[in-house]
């Protein structure tokens, strides 16, 4: 099962040097459960795109304004939601913002 771990942080708060992300990355990588991750640039540099009458209309981002915007994401492949939460808890240690585990949809399934 695949999961996205979203990290949220207010622009005022800065993650301390002792944040748990190193441990999270080491554990998830060693277990073969880390697919990837990235850190997002400041929301003010994001761009919103809309299609209007066949032309792209571009405006200043972000699309969703939040007190604690999305700052980073990891992609995991784990056997269960419990395991994804266990890993995310490592990255939440020392992280002054929000951490969210979000399952992804699968293209496969079972007929009923």
């Amino acid at each position: 099962m695949k999961f996205v771990v979203n990290l949220y942080l207010s622009p005022e708060a800065a993650p301390g040097p002792g944040s748990g992300r190193e441990e999270f990355l080491a554990v998830a990588r060693e277990a073969g459960e880390l697919i990837g991750g990235h850190v997002l640039a400041d929301p003010s540099v994001s761009v919103v795109v809309r299609a209007r009458a066949g032309a792209a209309e571009v405006s200043e981002g972000p699309y969703l304004r939040a007190a604690e915007p999305l700052t980073g994401q990891y992609l995991l492949d784990c056997p269960s939601l419990d395991r994804a939460v266990e890993l995310a808890a490592l990255s939440a240690a020392g992280w002054p913002g929000g951490v969210e585990v979000w399952p992804l949809m699968d293209a496969g399934g079972m007929e009923m």
Binding site: M1, K2, R29, E30, A31, G32, E33, L34, I35, G36, D77, P79, P103, L104, M105, D106, A107, G108, G109, M110, E111, M112
Partner: protein, 417 residues
């Protein structure tokens, strides 16, 4: 069948045999497994060009042994440099002594290897990956592709599994009688997981994942050949064959699921149904009952009904009743409830679902609401059914299931005005 397929099938068949020979001769699971992968790769590139060697198996044993000895030598050279101490050379005689070894223990080697790869020191996900590589002869890249992760994610999963096996000190030997049932259970569970991964994916466009069902059936056949008298091994093989037999009919031309009741039975694989039915009948007549046999028996009753209305729901109800007693779990309760609904009416089925509301494993599971919605629909309670289908659609993590559940809910939508 194209030439690369023919080589590929043979190589995958030979992989566990060659690994077995190396393990018995040299020991060291991690090193031997690497050497066999190297030899398989060498064969896959050289045989199509040079032609198949006279004895493919001896060729692979010889090449893998050379790789292993090279590894040991370079490791020893490194140690010599580091410790400035003379290390003992591995005498060439060991390699030269590699005879053809057409060994009656080959089949046993496959099973012994499965026991090692499904060792309890590993997580199920690692057991699955290591089994596909060391017993199935797939490359890390192929396994990664089958599980839709990058090779860089799969490689550490396999390396860690091999390190854990080394650390556990598990010998290349079958478990003793005391552990036998539990360890064989772990092997069968891993094969079942591989099958399900492939079967779930076979609704999608991904051929690589679909091959997992064939791989699971191939490995389960090998276990069945090694243990022909084990009823649960036969039961699992039968369950796989009887489930896979319906594959062609389970997805409509638009990619949506076709429920069992609406499938075109002419498209089911009758040879697989015959084989699976014979296997499970024989197993149930001669061995103690087990969960795989019971599930296979249910699958056989579905598969052998010429029309959906011919389904022997009374028998299915009895089988799920027994399964619920010997291996209770909420999924069995769900299936039992459907069978009860088909024989005693939907209300009786719905009553059986009630305790599941208090089961933490099911409270957020879409299947509970999908089944409840189905039984409410049968009972004529369209509003409640629609609500449960919608709830199930929100909870499922499968796109085709979600489409199916939304369509069921939409069918029950109240007419506007």
């Amino acid at each position: 069948m194209t030439a690369p397929d023919r080589f590929g099938d043979l190589l995958r068949e030979l992989a566990p045999q060659v690994l077995g020979v190396l393990l018995r001769r040299y020991g060291g699971f991690e090193e031997c497994e690497e050497a066999v992968q190297d030899a398989l790769l060498a064969a896959a590139t050289r045989w199509p060009a040079d032609g198949m060697p006279e004895s493919p198996r001896s060729w692979l044993v010889t090449v893998a042994s050379r790789r292993l000895v090279d590894q040991v030598r370079s490791e020893q050279a490194r140690r010599r440099r580091e410790a400035a101490a003379a290390a003992r050379e591995v005498p060439d005689a060991d390699v030269a002594a590699a005879p053809g070894e057409e060994n009656p223990g080959d089949r046993d080697d496959t099973l012994t290897l499965l026991f090692l790869c499904c060792h309890p020191a590993l997580t199920p996900a690692s057991q699955v990956a290591l089994t596909l590589r060391a017993v199935g002869g797939l490359t890390t890249a192929e396994i990664a592709q089958a599980f839709l992760v990058p090779e860089a994610t799969m490689a550490p999963r396999i390396s860690r599994a091999k390190r854990r096996i080394k650390a556990s000190g598990a010998p290349f030997a079958r478990p003793d009688a005391r552990e036998w049932t539990e360890r064989l259970g772990a092997v069968l569970h891993v094969l079942y997981l591989i099958f399900n991964e492939g079967y779930a994916a076979s609704s999608g466009p991904d051929l690589h994942r679909r091959e997992l069902t064939a791989e699971a059936i191939r490995l389960t056949r090998a276990v069945h050949r090694a243990l022909p008298g084990d009823g649960e091994v036969a039961g699992l093989l039968a369950l796989m064959l009887l489930t896979d037999a319906r594959r062609a009919a389970r997805v409509g031309p638009d990619g949506t699921f076709v429920p069992l009741a609406e499938q075109d039975r002419a498209r089911w694989d009758s040879a697989a149904i015959d084989e699976g039915t014979a296997l499970v009948s024989q197993a149930m007549a001669t061995s103690p009952l087990g969960p795989y046999q019971l599930q296979a028996a249910v699958a056989a009753l579905h598969d052998r009904a010429p029309r959906v209305e011919d389904t022997d729901w009374e028998q299915i109800r009895v089988l799920y009743g027994i399964l619920g007693r010997i291996a209770p779990n909420p999924m069995v309760t769900l299936n039992h409830a459907v069978a009860v609904a088909m024989t005693r009416g939907p209300r009786a089925g719905l009553d059986l679902l009630e305790p599941l509301d208090d089961d933490p494993r099911m409270a957020r599971h879409h299947r509970l609401y999908a089944v409840r919605g189905h039984l409410q629909e049968l009972a004529g309670d369209g509003d409640a059914a629609r609500e449960n289908y919608s709830r199930a659609a929100r909870l499922t993590l499968s796109l085709p299931e979600q489409r199916y559940l939304r369509a069921r809910a939409a069918r029950l939508a109240p007419r506007p005005g």
